[in-house]
Symmetry: C2
């Protein structure tokens, strides 16, 4: 995602068109931005937050330039836009976090002239984007410490927690990209991730474009893979929200993978920026889980794949209990159980070091 | 499946067209029958055996009537057809079993005149079909003993082990149909079962047609279901081959369900006719697992769902180790661990009683 040339529009890569077509869309209203988030044209918890922030920056600039429409003070309108977009998808923590951050920035300077306010919002949105890009690399560097360093490694991932889901090189895929950049052999097994196929459509697409070897399998084949001779070195996934106790909401299907990984003794790691950690949500059961429209399951491919009007249950996310998570990796370090303590310390502590990993990440020649 | 009006053709319901269209096809050559099996127009381990047997009966009658083409004795030609069809799909036990049974019947009477031989084959094929129909009901009656009898019950199933997969009321779905016939409330959660969606296309279709309540979910949602307040009373699945030690090959994704069921303490039962038990295959690792074409994963719905030429791993089946199987139910009874003993006794013992369940099944008012 990026701002248009004059900074008054948001340009997105429409992820619903991939891998068939690489299509950009230019959005100029809050309605268009909301639609793009709800329909998953823009998706991935960190990227949604970035896109909404840049989007609010674009429409704020546009509003600041349009002198005629000033029935409400601009600061109030920005607040309205932030709250509206904040509710576009309920599960991910980063969207609400980014919108609250813009709101806070504007509230502190609400008397500023429109042009100044618009620049303030734009600067905050750019900062959110830049910080995310940096967080991705740090996550990758820390995560490499958890992976074999003396030989090629293979990982299994679910959904898309790559470059397409973030402002940088991804979260779950960050160590993969860093290893690949360093000339190491690395191989990714990508669950296709029904219903919307973010694994086969997006993860496979971005890895291939970067020259990383990838093999697609259906979600139900992960068990057979772990029982085979090619058991992966680790399961790496992103997260949409991490509760204070370490329970992790992520794309539906993640929980089943975590159970399989535990059964096979395969390490299961969650990689996400600290903006995904929500200390105000005590446990996984407190995370609201978005239910998606049945048509994504029954007609997702331009063909009817179930009887008309059949009952469908389609949660977009599931919750993996902390007990199944071997480590949570953020840009602040490698966090280990008990997460109630280590996450709180890492999120609230000065400098962001954890009780477990301190100092600079030791990523291998990124 | 059934024979055409003059007994010289095989009529099948083309399951690849469901649930959109109910289309029958008439097959008259061994090539057509083989294609129908390979392409899954006819699928379900028991039904494949029945279809192949009726198919050989049809082409044998046709050959017996066609006097000109007699370069080979008819008995030898029947043997050739049986061996060819036997190899159409490698994993399921019932196809090879049915073809071996026809071969044996013909070999015992190979000198008989063509017309007589054709009637013999037809009688044997009809017997295979009728026996399967009866086995389905017995499986259902035994399986009901494992399910709650004082209240409505809910089960989770994978793929299609229903009427469409057998000559009767199915295997995994047999207790569901018997309970429904008896006026009991019963509800089925059906995994859609990627890549070919036998759950959403076939299981949901046949249950709705019979008035049984069904809810479709994607394969990756089964974990969320088990962690929810609607945890099913049992997971019921069919089987393509059961090894002598009780390891079960079934549609890929079954193994992951078995691990989830164990994790949540949900009973996991395998329901299949005794023709699926293969005492000549000692363990699961000895079962050949068919690999399917990548296009079933990447272009299965008339739309490209992965980058062109991406690497795909697509085993059609996986193996669930006996340790995760709470019971195997055949028409001979409820078999419990250690399966190495109980299955052998049930399959080889006179009358087919097992060490565990004896006598008539006590199914509830079927």
């Amino acid at each position: 995602v990026r701002l248009g040339p004059d900074g008054t529009s948001l340009i997105i890569l429409d992820q619903t068109a991939l891998p068939d077509r690489v299509e950009e869309r230019t959005l100029t209203t809050v309605e268009e931005i909301e639609e793009a988030i709800r329909s998953l044209r823009v998706r991935g918890a960190p990227l949604i937050g970035i896109a909404a922030a840049l989007g609010v920056a674009a429409i704020t600039r546009r509003a600041a330039a349009a002198t005629e429409d000033a029935s409400l003070p601009l600061a109030e309108r920005v607040t309205d836009w932030c709250r509206r977009l904040s509710g576009a998808r309920p599960t991910g923590a980063n969207l609400a976090w980014a919108m609250a951050r813009l709101e806070r920035a504007v509230r502190e300077r609400e008397a500023a002239p429109p042009g100044e306010l618009a620049e303030l919002v734009a600067a905050e949105a750019r900062a959110i984007h830049e910080e995310d890009r940096a967080m991705c690399r740090r996550i990758g560097e820390y995560a490499l410490e958890l992976l074999p360093d003396a030989r090629p490694f293979e990982i299994l991932t679910h959904c898309n927690a790559g470059a397409l889901a973030t402002g940088g090189i991804g979260t779950a895929l960050a160590p993969v990209y860093l290893a690949h950049e360093a000339g190491r052999a690395v191989h990714v097994f990508a669950d296709e991730t029904r219903p919307l196929l973010q694994g086969s459509r997006l993860t496979a697409w971005e890895l291939r474009r970067s020259g990383v070897e990838v093999t697609v399998l259906t979600d139900g084949m992960a068990g057979a893979l772990m029982a085979s001779s090619r058991v992966p070195d680790a399961v790496l996934v992103g997260a949409d929200r991490i509760a204070a106790n370490g329970d992790v909401a992520n794309k539906v299907g993640t929980y089943g993978l975590a159970v399989l990984a535990a059964h096979h003794g395969v390490p299961f790691y969650v990689l996400a920026p600290s903006t995904t950690v929500d200390l105000d949500t005590p446990r996984g059961e407190d995370i609201p889980i978005e239910l998606r429209d049945p048509s994504e399951v029954t007609e997702g491919f331009g063909r009817t794949t179930a009887p008309r009007d059949v009952d469908v249950w389609s949660p977009a996310f599931d919750v993996t209990p902390a007990a199944l998570v071997g480590a949570i990796v953020t840009e602040r370090g490698i966090h280990r159980p008990p997460y109630g303590d280590t996450l709180r310390e890492a999120m609230l502590g000065a400098g962001g070091t954890t009780g477990v990993t301190t100092g600079e990440p030791r990523g291998r020649d990124p």
